[in-house]
Point group: C2
């Protein structure tokens, strides 16, 4: 695995790979602090003939953090990240500096207007504008054929699918299933913020989603009843600061009153100790 920082070096390496006969370039953008969930994204990128040259990027993107969020504190583990990516089969690691992605005087932003209105978009103003902007830049630099994002950030995945389609980018967007601990906790770089006392409470998120899924499987179609059951689980687990718990159309993210026709998704965000955690599941 080769590591580059500058956009010009990245482009040269990707061009070399294509000239050498690699037909499909896969791309896994990350913010580093990598875990097994990220490794699975690499597996998905290289699997099923999706890509024969895989680029991973590590960049903690300042424009997707709000002024009171954890940009400065966000875990940065570049050596461990490089080791994990090399072990996971990445061909090229791109670790740009802020100035590579935001040149002096940068003032261009990409916004996806509807999908970002609710859920995390409502609680983190400007977050998805920052995400869409940086991913548009990353895509322009790498020019991949396929890019893989985790389903754990479901709203992000849908937003980036929409952006890619709307901007006519010739890139296939693939979602990779959430990787979980044995007890159900979704892997997240922010799990590092959890103390020993926080850890059992953090299970409330996945447990609430599981409860809603089970009740739905048992016949309950009313969103209000399902959400009440989910909230009860969160409370029983000691999760007090719930940011949101919603049942939405899986693609449009519009809140549902009754489940039935299309695929529904349950999404939850909550503070546990210092960590703001998110999770989601098909319901």
């Amino acid at each position: 695995m080769i590591t580059v920082a500058r956009v010009a070096d990245l482009r040269a390496r990707v061009a070399e790979a294509r000239a050498a006969g690699r037909r499909r370039v896969g791309f896994v953008p990350t913010m580093g602090a990598l875990h097994e969930g990220h490794r699975s994204l690499l597996d998905v990128a290289a699997g099923a003939g999706r890509a024969d040259f895989v680029v991973a990027s590590v960049f903690v993107n300042p424009t997707q953090f709000g002024p009171n969020e954890d940009f400065a504190a966000y875990p940065r583990t570049p050596e461990a990240d490089a080791a994990l990516l090399a072990g996971a089969g990445a061909d090229l690691l791109w670790m740009p500096e802020v100035g590579d992605l935001y040149p002096d005087g940068a003032q261009t932003f990409v916004e996806v207007t509807e999908l970002t209105k609710g859920l995390c978009g409502a609680r983190r103003p400007g977050h998805f504008r920052g995400v869409a902007t940086v991913v548009a830049k990353l895509f322009a630099a790498v020019q991949p054929d396929v890019a893989v994002f985790g389903e754990k950030d479901w709203q992000q995945l849908q937003t980036l699918r929409r952006m890619t389609r709307d901007l006519l980018l010739p890139i296939e967007i693939v979602g990779a299933p959430t990787v979980r601990e044995a007890d159900g906790l979704a892997l997240s770089s922010r799990n590092r913020y959890l103390t020993a006392e926080d850890r059992p409470r953090a299970l409330g998120l996945s447990a609430a989603l599981r409860e809603m899924k089970e009740r739905r499987a048992a016949g309950e179609k009313g969103a209000a009843a399902l959400l009440a059951a989910g909230r009860a689980v969160l409370a029983a687990c000691g999760v007090e600061r719930v940011d949101y718990l919603e049942l939405v159309d899986a693609e449009t993210l519009v809140p549902l009153e009754t489940l039935g026709a299309g695929p529904a998704r349950g999404l939850v965000a909550a503070f546990v100790g210092k960590a703001r955690l998110i999770d989601n599941a098909a319901v």
Copy 2:
């Protein structure tokens, strides 16, 4: 010259040209109603080794028109456009429909925040958001090496240069000098709106810019004095509805008080009869 509508057909033709050994794809996006100014953009694209395969597009972009502007009335002359482009040496003409560029549910927009605050951006809310968005889409579809825009839309040219740089698009942006009638009137598709009585008044725009340029050459450095001289020319020509007349830094578009250090640009917009005309020049 081949004409295509669908994005897939456009991509196939461009890919064919590249496979056949064309090394540099040039792109001239237009809204049709073509005139000699557009022909000059084609000449610039094909000149100086900039491109050996030139794509032109004709698309009247709805998102850059305000609700009270002339989207419906904007002149549409597809047959004449195709003839002019074939004669000007375009290799491929792309005439997409609205649905090709704005698929169902499209909700992604590109914004350049600072350069679009003043001048036409202040008078036409959303205009440059529409321009940046559609050009980002056109660029993604054509993937040119070089794109040519007229200097007549100076704020647009600077905005698209900035967007291209900020989004890391590997595209060279070239500005082509404004083409004028013998008497100085800048060519514009909207000149068709001018009646015989309007036509002499429309000369006020270029005359005002010329007056400022001459006074600057004669030593006047104060923006206020230069603008007063320009406004006097507009008034003398009978141009009553002046939208703006400004002297700005040519690149940042920040208004100047004193001319001297960097390149300065005079920009003017005014209504003459039913037409809103714009013009600009180095001062």
